[in-house]
């Protein structure tokens, strides 16, 4: 790695005299505040949304923020969250998948049929379910690429066709129960991270954040580029670790941190790495931003579309398996009703653009937390689905309106 000449003792990327050079923690905080004010909101609106929603529900029902209910929330959000993670991938390339609910339903039914009806091992059942998810995504990609059918239509067809497949798979009985003693069901209902290990995870997350930031800052300094100040990095890592430690402590007061939730977090981190640190992830953003430019830059746009759909359907299928495990059954209504739209809404509420090229893996995590919080809060208040739909719809509208307003502000302040 060559080092650039750095006259004036300034980092190579801070040479232009028009640039303000931040120094120390105070400047870093001020820069963050300015970024937010200019409309570069990042995760702030959805985090603020969660705070508002939690405050309201807590004031209406004291059990909402109880440890028991939050442990339940940590379980309930996983199937939908995994599906929403897939939706983020498809939205990133500027496409849409309306059939994630049906695909998750088929996959739940397939798991149950293979495992219970044919009495095959659990691993095979899961492999069949996720494998068929991959095949469905590949099929969508082929139809989109070869015939140029818009993904909206392809996946609308898929929604109906796979709903039919699910009903056909379960034609003899309305529901197939999974055995309660199977590891799959235990995983989704009673397996928790041991208390001490959960604390270790929380500290490790803060330490990992600090280590990654430190390595990055060191290699940037060596290359003569500006780098984050260590106190600022330490502050962020400390806050992260403290927040996680408190969460673990609070959940440990009752049942603890579900392993299923850890699986979800792991998936989010994996997708985050792929999106941000690999050439493939970069090409997803590029295709979503300007497919023609990506093609001219030598990116195989068709392969990118296909792999985005494969990722989406595979994650939807995984979500279906987890939903079946959570319920300990696959029935004809698994993955139907509002699963499709909730998954897409979660991705969008989390800050993923419907027009492609913008969004992160954490959008799925935070978006689904919003949606499941609303659902859980209203259930505690004994209000039926009608309220849930209306309120979720309003939140979605607010999220998208806020995003549009922020985008206009970003453009006005030259942040794209």
């Amino acid at each position: 790695m060559t080092s650039l000449d750095t006259p004036l003792g300034k980092a190579a990327d801070r040479q232009d005299e028009r640039l303000a050079t931040p120094q120390g923690i105070g400047d870093a905080v001020r820069a963050a505040v300015r970024r937010t004010r200019d409309g570069d909101l990042g995760m702030l609106p959805v985090v603020a949304g969660i705070v508002v929603i939690w405050t309201i529900f807590q004031s209406l029902n004291q059990t909402f923020l109880s440890s028991t209910n939050l442990v339940n929330l940590a379980f309930e959000m996983v199937p939908l969250g995994v599906i929403a993670l897939g939706v983020v991938c498809v939205l990133l390339v500027g496409q849409i998948d309306l059939s994630v609910g049906s695909v998750s339903g088929v996959s739940a039914a397939a798991t149950a049929v293979v495992m219970v009806k044919h009495e095959q091992p659990m691993a095979l059942a899961i492999a069949v379910a996720i494998g068929s998810g991959c095949a469905i995504g590949w099929l969508y990609g082929q139809i989109l690429n070869r015939f140029g059918v818009p993904s909206f239509v392809v996946t609308l067809g898929g929604l109906l066709a796979f709903l039919g497949t699910q009903l056909w798979l379960l034609r003899d009985q309305n529901a197939i129960n999974l055995p309660y003693d199977s590891p799959l069901v235990k995983f989704a209902q009673v397996w928790f991270v041991p208390e001490a290990l959960a604390y270790v995870f929380a500290v490790a997350a803060g330490g990992g954040f600090l280590a990654v930031g430190w390595v990055r800052a060191r290699s940037r300094r060596r290359a003569g580029l500006s780098s984050a100040s260590m106190p600022w990095l330490g502050l962020q890592a400390g806050l992260l670790a403290a927040a996680l430690l408190f969460t673990v402590y609070y959940l440990n007061r009752t049942r603890g941190v579900p392993w299923m939730f850890m699986l979800f977090v792991t998936l989010v981190l994996m997708v985050h790495y792929v999106l941000k640190k690999t050439k493939f992830g970069r090409s997803l953003y590029a295709v979503g931003g300007n497919a023609e430019a990506a093609r001219r830059a030598g990116i195989n746009v068709r392969a990118v579309y296909t792999s985005a759909f494969v990722m989406c359907s595979a994650l939807a299928a995984t979500g279906g398996v987890l939903a079946a495990a959570r319920l300990a059954a696959a029935n004809q209504s698994t993955g139907t009703a509002d699963v499709n739209l909730n998954a897409i809404a979660a991705a969008v509420i989390g800050g993923t653009s419907l027009f492609g090229g913008r969004g992160t893996a954490f959008a799925a995590l935070l978006g689904v937390l919003v949606i499941q919080s609303i659902s859980s809060g209203l259930t505690l208040l004994n209000l039926d689905s009608s309220y849930r739909f209306i309120i979720t719809g309003l939140v979605l509208l607010v999220a998208v309106a806020l995003d549009s307003a922020a985008r206009r502000s970003r453009q006005a302040h030259g942040r794209g």
Binding site: A223, K277, A286, N290, A297, G416
Partner: protein
């Protein structure tokens, strides 16, 4: 027709008798063109003269039906855009082809990222700054998405990206077409720096001012054929326009003559005077019924 200035540097890219046929239409017939290292060759011509076809042949999008293309005296075939880039011919198309949602460094390295499975952001950023400094490009930070840049800065990013593969010849398709006055000057400076760095530059343009400002030689295409190569320092706009339109007595010359006899502001706005369009005659009649 003036004799072209003999290029002093060695010729890098050389076209002889290049032709391209689209059905019954001969888009290009027997085109000859030489580009030396450290030289800016402007290719001008009216709409339909074959400029775009020529660019697409040189960038490997179209394959020519006849003739030869040689690079450093060796005959080459440009079957695909990747071939052209591998040989050392980079192209900046008119629409730039940038991803507006990605930041500057992501755009520069798009499709050729370092370390595909663990992107080397630091090395990519360092290399980006090196390239931009070489061109004395005025882009304050690489962290902003391209959507936040001005037109001239975008053109700079597109040209810088073309330089990433260390080309010897760079094709610029209408580099100043969509730009304002200051931004045009910025891009013209950039073209001069490319020449200073020893690159052969082929610049397709409609704008006679820009051509005369930076080009060393002006090659005129007319109806898919060579219609003269001029030394940009000595040629007059009238001569070039005559070659473009194929006649000394053309609409543009008539206008210039009329304005010269009308007053001293004859050359006040050569930009509009020297950009002829085939339909400018009839349109004028409509304006003055």
């Amino acid at each position: 027709m003036t004799a072209p200035a003999a290029p002093t540097a060695p010729t890098v890219l050389s076209l002889r008798g290049v032709s391209k046929q689209f059905g019954a239409v001969a888009a290009l017939t027997g085109i000859d063109l030489d580009v030396a290292a450290g030289e800016v060759v402007a290719v001008v011509g009216d709409n339909g003269a074959g400029k775009s076809t020529l660019v697409k042949i040189l960038s490997g999008v179209y394959t020519p039906d006849g003739g030869t293309i040689s690079f450093h005296g060796r005959e080459v075939s440009l079957g695909t855009p990747a071939d052209a880039q591998a040989i050392g011919i980079a192209t900046v198309f008119q629409d730039l082809a940038l991803c507006e949602n990605l930041d500057v460094k992501a755009n520069l390295f798009l499709g050729q990222e370092l370390r595909p499975w663990m992107l080397d952001d630091v090395a990519m950023e360092t290399r980006s700054w090196e390239l931009l400094r070489e061109l004395s490009a005025r882009i304050p930070t690489l962290d902003v998405p391209v959507a936040a840049l001005s037109g001239g800065q975008r053109q700079t990013v597109a040209i810088t990206r073309a330089l990433l593969g260390k080309p010897e010849v760079i094709l610029l398709d209408e580099p100043t077409a969509a730009l304002g006055v200051a931004q045009t000057a910025e891009v013209l400076n950039l073209i001069e720096r490319l020449r200073g760095n020893g690159l052969g530059v082929v610049m397709i343009s409609h704008n006679m001012d820009d051509v005369r400002a930076v080009a060393d030689r002006v090659a005129v295409l007319r109806l898919g054929r060579n219609n003269g190569v001029f030394d940009a320092r000595t040629v007059t706009s009238e001569q070039v326009v005559a070659a473009i339109t194929g006649a000394a007595d053309n609409v543009v010359a008539q206008r210039a003559a009329r304005r010269a006899s009308a007053g001293p502001r004859a050359d006040a706005d050569p930009r509009t005077d020297t950009a002829p369009r085939p339909d400018s005659g009839p349109r004028k009649e409509k304006e003055l019924p």
